[in-house]
C-alpha cells in the first residue's frame, strides 16, 4: 500500500467485499452508505478525484457506489 490513493482504493474494495455476498442491489447502496458515514471529507475528495480519473482498481460495485455517492454529496471546500 504505497500511495495514499492506493490505500483508499484498497479500503473501498474491502468494504465492497463485505457487501458482495448480499447481491448487487443491496451492495451498492450499502457501500455508498458506509463510505458516507465513516470517511472524512479529505478521504472522500481523494477517492472522488480518483473516480474522476477513471477509478482504476475499484471493484465494479464500489465504482458504482462511489459514483452515486459523489452525485449525492456536496463536500465543504478544504479549509
Amino acid at each position: 500500500m504505497s500511495s495514499p490513493a492506493d490505500r483508499l482504493i484498497y479500503m473501498a474494495n474491502q468494504i465492497g467485499t463485505f457487501f458482495r455476498s448480499q447481491g448487487h442491489d443491496k451492495a451498492v447502496p450499502g457501500i455508498a452508505d458506509h463510505i458516507r458515514k465513516f470517511w472524512d471529507p479529505r478521504m472522500k475528495r481523494a477517492i472522488f478525484a480518483h473516480l474522476d480519473a477513471g477509478g482504476a482498481g475499484l471493484e465494479p460495485n464500489v465504482l458504482e457506489a462511489l459514483t452515486s455517492l459523489k452525485q449525492a454529496t456536496s463536500l465543504p471546500e478544504a479549509h
Binding site: 467485499t17 463485505f18 448480499q22 465513516f38 472524512d40 471529507p41 478521504m43 465543504p76
Partner: protein
C-alpha cells in the same frame, strides 16, 4: 471521613426465595431458606463468635467457636454449618457455650505469638477480637510446649517453626501466626479458582502450603489477594500495611485497569494509600480482585512520573519545564497556527479510554466545538470499534447485552478470541466458579489459553488458525441451521424473518460446513459440531469475546456472525445468555459512549443527523461540522500526506500501541505539534512538543463505564500531584485556544452529558451515590438502569441477520514468512505496560517472550530462552523464545507489554474493513536465531533516550 465498615455475615447469602422464620436469642428472624444460623443471627444484629467462617467462602465448621444451642436438639452445633429451619429456637450465649468458646480460644492462643503491639494486624485482627469477645484472660497451658511460634524451643531448633515467606512483592506469609482456619485455601479455590493453596500435613503438622511446599511466588499463586483478604490474623498481610500501619479512613472508588471495573475501597491514612481492598458491594466484582487492581497501584507515585508541564520547539531539543499557563499558550499558539496555515481540519485529538467519562467528553467537545472539526478518535479504534459497528447493525446498541452477574445463570459459556484468566481475571474467576458448578465451556482460540488450562475446568477447545474466525463462527451457524437447532419461535418473534431465511440459506451451503472449512481453519469438524450442539441446546448460552475477534480484517464481520449465532439460538434478552465483548481498558466503553468516534456524538448518534447536532450546537453555542472526521489510522495517513499537522493525545500511547510502528513514527515526525497529556514520558512523548502532566485515578473525581455498561464513581482520595485534574487541564488548553468551558466539578459535566444523551438521561452523581452504580440505558423508562438488554425486543426493532462471507486476510504466509504471529496479554501486565511496568508486577513478567511450538523451534535451531529475530513484511525485532505446545505448529505468539520488544514494529497496516481497527492478531512472520537487539531497536532506544532529556531548570526570573 471514617472507615467504611462492611458486615461479615459469616456465610454466603442464600439465593432461595422461600423464607424461613426462627427465633434467635428471643428475636424472631426471617431469612431465605438455606441461610446458616450464623448469618441469620448477624441479620438480627447478633454476632456469634467465629474464626474459620467468612461470607466470601462456604461454611467449613472447623474452629468450633461459633457453637450455639438449639432447643430440642442435642449437643452444640456449629452455627455456620447449621441451616435455619422454621420454628427453631436458638441461643447464642449460655454458660456452657461461654466455657466451650473460652476453651477453644485458649488452645488457639497457646500456639500464637503475643506480640500484638508490634504486629502488622494490630487493630485489624479477628483472633484478637475473638479473644476479647470470649473474655479470654489466661492461658493455662503456658507457651513452652510444642509450638509453631518460636524459632528455638528450650535451646533447641524448633522444627515446627517456619520463617516468613516474603517472596511475593505485595504480601507476607508468616506461618508462626497461622491458626490453620483454611480461609485462605478456600478463598483461593472458591473465589479465585486457582487452587494454588492447600493444607499440608495433619493435626498439629497442618500448614498452609502454596503448591507443594513452594514459596508463594514460586507456586501457581496469581497474587489476586483473596487469601490476604480472607486471613483473620497477621499471617497473610499486605506489606504496605506492615510498613505504614492501619488505615484511618476509606473511600469507595473504581479500579483504573481493565474493563471489568472492580469497585475498591481505597484505605487511606491522610493522603497516603495504605491498601486497596475490593468492595463487597461492587456489582462488577462482588468483593474480588486481581493482582493489578489490588496491588499494582504504585505507579501513581513512581519516580518517573512527570509533575510539571514541559515544552520544546523541536523534538530533538531537551524538554523545558514551564508553568501551566506557559504550556497552554505555547500549545494553543501552535495549534491555532497550524489551523491558519493548513486549514481548520489539520488538527485533531485522541481521547483516553483510561480517563473518566467526563474527561473524555470534554476532549471530544474541545475538538468538535473548539477545534471546529470532528477529528476525534479513541483507542477503541484499535480494539473494540468492530464491536460498536457489529452490534449496532444487528441489535441496535454498541455494547454488551448482560451484566457480569448474568454468568451465574449461564449453562454454556463460549469464549472467542479472549483470555479472561489473564486479561479480565475477576470475570474469569466468576465464570470459573460457575463452570465448577457444572456449566460447560467452549473456547475458540488459536492458543491453549489459561482458561483452557484452568484447574477443574474441562473446555471444548477449538484451536483455529489466526484469521479464520468468520469461517469457524459461520460453520457453527451451519451446524445449527442444518441440524435443525434454530430457536424458530424466538427468531419469528424477535427478528426479521426474511433476512433470517436469506442468512439460513447462506450458512446452510455445503461450503460453510465444518468439514469443508476445516482445511482453512484447522479445527476438527467433529469438535466443531459438538460445540455447536452444546451451545444451541445446552441451556443458557452466553458468548464472551475479546480482541481476538475484533482485531482482524474481518473483525466487524465476526462480531456480526456472533450476533447471528445468538439470535438464531434465542440466546438474547434474559439473564445467563447474551453477547458480551470483554473490554480492554477501564473506560473503553465509556469513551465510546461519550462521542469519541469521529462520526458520532455522545450516545452513538451520527454527526450528520441535523436534529441531534442542533441540540449540541444549542448547548455548546457553536456551529458543528456535519462531516465525520479522521479515524486514528486515517490521521496517520493524512499526517504523512501533509494535511494533518497537530494532535492532542490524552492518556494514550499510540506509538507503542498502534500497529506498524515505523508508519506511526513517520506520521508523528511529520506533525508540527504533538501534545501528550499523560502520567509518564511515554513512547509517543518522544515525538511530542508539549507535555501536559496527567493525574492518576486516585487524584480526581469522575466516572468510568465498564464492559457491562455500568457507570461507577471514581473518587478523589488525594490532591493531584501535578496540580490539576485531567479535566482541568483540558479546560485550560481550551481556554488558551479561545474556547471557554466552565465547570467547577465533574458532576456538572455529567449533568450536561445527561441532558444531551437519552441513554444517560437519568444519570447523576446523586443517583450514583445512592445506588452505587447504574448500567445505561438509565432514563425514565429504566430509572435504575438496565442490567440485561433487549429483553422484550431488540433496541433497533427487529434483530437483523446479516450474511457473513469468510474472506481470507491479505496478510498471507508464504515461503519468506511461513508462520503466523498473534498477540495477547498476560495477567500481571496491562496494555502497553506504562503502569504495571512501574510496579513490582515486573517480578512475574520482566520481558515479552515469543511462544513457539517445539516443531517450529527445532526446524530453526531455536532453544528455549534463545534470542530470536522476528521478521515480518513491516519490520523486524528481537526477543527471547519460549518453547511451548500451547501454540499450534505454524503459529507463534507474543505479548506487547514492553516498549523495547517493539512487537508493533512487526504488525502491518491491514485493518478491519468497516472500522479500520488494525489487524494485530495476524501477521505473517519468519523466525531466526539472533544475537541480540536489532539495529532498529538500538536506534529507537537511542532516539528515546535523547528525546527524554529534560533541561536543568533556569534561575527564577
Amino acid at each position: 471521613m471514617s472507615m467504611i465498615e462492611e458486615i461479615d455475615f459469616g456465610t454466603p447469602r442464600s439465593k432461595s426465595e422461600t423464607m424461613v422464620t426462627l427465633t434467635i436469642d428471643g428475636n424472631e428472624v426471617t431469612v431465605p431458606e438455606g441461610t446458616s444460623i450464623m448469618r441469620a443471627a448477624m441479620d438480627a444484629g447478633h454476632q456469634i463468635p467465629k474464626l474459620c467462617a467468612t461470607d466470601m467462602v462456604d461454611a467449613f465448621g472447623s474452629c468450633r467457636l461459633c457453637v450455639v444451642e438449639i432447643e430440642g436438639r442435642a449437643g452444640r452445633p456449629a452455627s455456620c454449618t447449621t441451616p435455619v429451619m422454621n420454628g427453631l429456637v436458638v441461643h447464642t450465649q449460655s454458660e456452657r457455650l461461654k466455657q466451650l468458646r473460652k476453651g477453644v480460644m485458649e488452645l488457639y492462643i497457646s500456639d500464637h505469638p503475643l506480640d500484638c503491639l508490634t504486629c502488622g494486624a494490630n487493630g485489624d485482627c479477628e483472633l484478637q477480637d475473638m479473644a476479647g469477645a470470649v473474655g479470654l484472660r489466661e492461658v493455662r497451658y503456658g507457651y513452652e510446649g510444642e509450638n509453631h511460634v518460636f524459632a528455638k524451643s528450650n535451646g533447641e531448633i524448633n522444627a515446627a517453626w517456619m520463617p516468613k515467606d516474603e517472596s511475593n512483592p505485595y504480601f507476607t506469609y508468616d506461618p508462626s501466626k497461622c491458626i490453620v482456619c483454611s480461609r485462605c485455601v478456600r478463598a483461593c479455590e472458591e473465589v479465585q479458582g486457582s487452587f494454588a493453596l492447600t493444607i499440608s500435613g495433619r493435626g498439629f503438622d497442618s500448614r498452609v502450603s502454596p503448591g507443594m511446599n513452594e514459596s508463594f511466588l514460586g507456586s501457581e499463586c496469581v497474587s489476586c489477594g483473596a487469601c490476604v483478604q480472607a486471613c483473620p490474623t497477621a499471617t497473610l498481610t499486605e506489606k504496605s500495611v506492615i510498613e505504614i500501619g492501619q488505615p484511618e479512613h476509606s473511600v469507595v472508588t473504581t479500579c483504573a485497569y481493565c474493563g471489568v471495573g472492580c469497585a475498591f475501597k481505597a484505605e487511606m491514612r491522610g493522603e497516603e494509600v495504605v491498601r486497596m481492598v475490593p468492595y463487597k458491594d461492587g456489582k462488577a466484582n462482588r468483593g474480588h480482585s486481581c493482582v493489578k487492581g489490588r496491588f499494582a497501584w504504585g505507579y501513581t507515585n513512581h519516580g518517573e512520573r512527570i509533575l510539571k508541564p514541559m515544552i520544546r520547539e523541536r523534538i530533538e531539543d531537551p524538554w523545558r519545564e514551564v508553568s501551566w499557563d506557559a504550556a497552554f499558550s505555547f500549545a494553543a499558539a501552535k495549534m491555532r497556527g497550524i489551523q491558519k496555515k493548513y486549514g481548520r481540519d489539520a488538527i485533531g485529538g485522541i481521547t483516553s479510554s483510561r480517563c473518566t467519562n467526563e474527561e473524555t467528553y470534554l476532549v471530544q467537545k474541545l475538538i468538535r466545538a473548539g477545534f471546529g472539526n470532528n477529528n476525534v478518535d479513541t483507542c477503541a479504534r484499535v480494539c473494540h470499534s468492530p464491536t460498536g459497528y457489529g452490534l449496532s447493525v444487528t441489535f441496535g446498541t454498541s455494547a454488551g447485552t448482560q451484566d457480569f452477574d448474568s454468568v451465574e445463570d449461564t449453562d454454556v459459556a463460549v469464549i472467542i478470541g479472549a483470555n479472561p484468566a489473564s486479561a479480565h481475571p475477576v470475570f474469569a474467576s466468576r465464570l470459573k466458579k460457575r463452570l465448577r458448578q457444572g456449566a460447560k465451556l467452549i473456547v475458540i482460540d488459536p492458543r491453549r489459553t489459561e482458561m483452557v488450562e484452568s484447574p477443574h475446568v474441562k473446555a471444548l477447545h477449538l484451536p483455529l488458525m489466526p484469521g479464520t474466525n468468520v469461517a469457524v463462527v459461520t460453520a457453527l451457524a451451519h451446524v445449527i441451521v442444518t441440524e435443525g437447532l434454530v430457536n424458530e419461535a424466538f427468531v419469528r418473534e424477535r427478528c426479521d424473518w426474511s433476512e433470517f431465511e436469506e442468512w439460513a440459506a447462506f450458512v446452510a451451503q455445503p461450503k460453510h460446513s465444518p468439514e469443508a472449512t476445516a482445511i482453512l481453519t484447522g479445527v476438527d469438524p467433529k469438535t466443531l459440531r459438538e460445540a455447536a450442539r452444546v451451545y444451541a441446546t445446552g441451556g443458557n448460552g452466553a458468548i464472551y469475546y475479546g480482541l481476538g475477534v475484533t482485531e482482524h480484517s474481518q473483525g466487524s464481520t465476526t462480531v456480526i456472525a456472533i450476533a447471528n449465532l445468538a439470535m438464531a439460538t434465542g440466546n438474547i434478552g434474559r439473564p445467563g445468555v447474551g453477547v458480551n465483548p470483554l473490554r480492554g481498558q477501564n473506560n473503553v466503553q465509556g469513551s465510546c459512549d461519550m462521542g469519541s468516534f469521529p462520526h458520532e456524538l455522545p450516545g452513538y448518534r451520527h454527526i450528520a443527523g441535523d436534529a441531534v447536532r442542533e441540540q449540541f450546537e444549542a448547548m455548546w453555542d457553536v456551529k458543528l461540522n456535519p462531516e465525520p472526521g479522521l479515524r486514528i489510522p486515517n490521521m496517520f495517513d493524512a499526517a504523512i500526506e501533509g494535511t494533518f499537522m497537530g494532535l492532542y493525545v490524552q492518556g494514550e500511547d499510540i506509538l507503542q500501541s498502534d500497529p506498524n510502528t515505523k508508519h506511526v513514527v513517520a506520521a508523528l515526525s511529520a506533525m508540527e505539534c504533538v501534545i501528550v497529556h499523560d502520567l509518564f514520558l511515554n513512547e509517543t512523548a518522544n515525538y511530542a512538543h508539549v507535555f501536559l502532566p496527567g493525574s492518576s485515578f486516585l487524584e480526581k473525581d469522575g466516572t468510568f463505564t465498564n464492559a457491562e455498561r455500568r457507570i461507577q464513581r471514581v473518587r478523589k482520595v488525594m490532591s493531584p500531584k501535578n496540580g490539576l485534574a485531567d479535566w482541568e487541564v483540558t479546560i485550560g488548553l481550551a481556554k488558551a485556544m479561545g474556547f471557554e468551558m466552565n465547570y467547577s466539578h465533574p458532576s456538572e459535566i455529567m449533568d450536561e452529558i445527561a441532558a444531551l444523551t437519552p441513554t444517560f438521561a437519568g444519570v447523576s452523581y446523586a443517583k450514583l451515590d445512592e445506588l452505587g452504580s447504574v448500567q445505561w440505558p438509565c432514563n425514565e423508562k429504566a430509572p435504575e438502569g438496565t442490567p440485561v438488554m433487549h429483553i422484550d425486543g431488540f433496541v433497533r426493532g427487529k434483530g437483523k441477520f446479516i450474511i457473513t462471507e469468510y474472506v481470507a486476510t491479505d496478510e498471507r504466509t508464504g515461503p519468506r514468512f511461513p508462520l503466523l504471529l498473534t498477540t495477547g496479554r498476560i495477567l500481571s501486565q496491562y496494555n502497553v505496560g506504562a503502569q504495571t511496568r512501574r510496579t513490582e508486577n515486573v517480578v512475574w513478567h520482566a520481558e515479552d517472550r515469543l511462544e513457539i511450538h517445539p516443531h517450529d523451534a527445532e526446524l530453526r535451531g531455536v532453544r528455549d530462552g534463545d534470542w530470536v529475530r522476528l521478521t515480518s513484511r513491516a519490520g523486524e525485532t528481537t526477543l527471547r523464545a519460549e518453547i511451548t505446545d500451547r501454540v499450534s505448529p505454524g503459529v507463534v505468539y507474543t505479548t506487547f507489554h514492553h516498549p523495547d520488544t517493539q512487537a508493533n514494529v512487526i504488525t502491518t497496516d491491514y485493518s478491519d474493513w468497516a472500522t479500520n481497527c488494525p489487524e494485530y492478531k495476524v501477521t505473517a512472520v519468519q523466525i531466526s536465531p539472533s544475537n541480540g537487539p536489532s539495529d532498529w531497536q538500538k536506534s529507537y532506544d537511542e532516539q528515546a533516550r535523547q528525546s527524554r532529556r529534560i533541561a536543568p531548570a533556569e534561575a527564577a526570573e
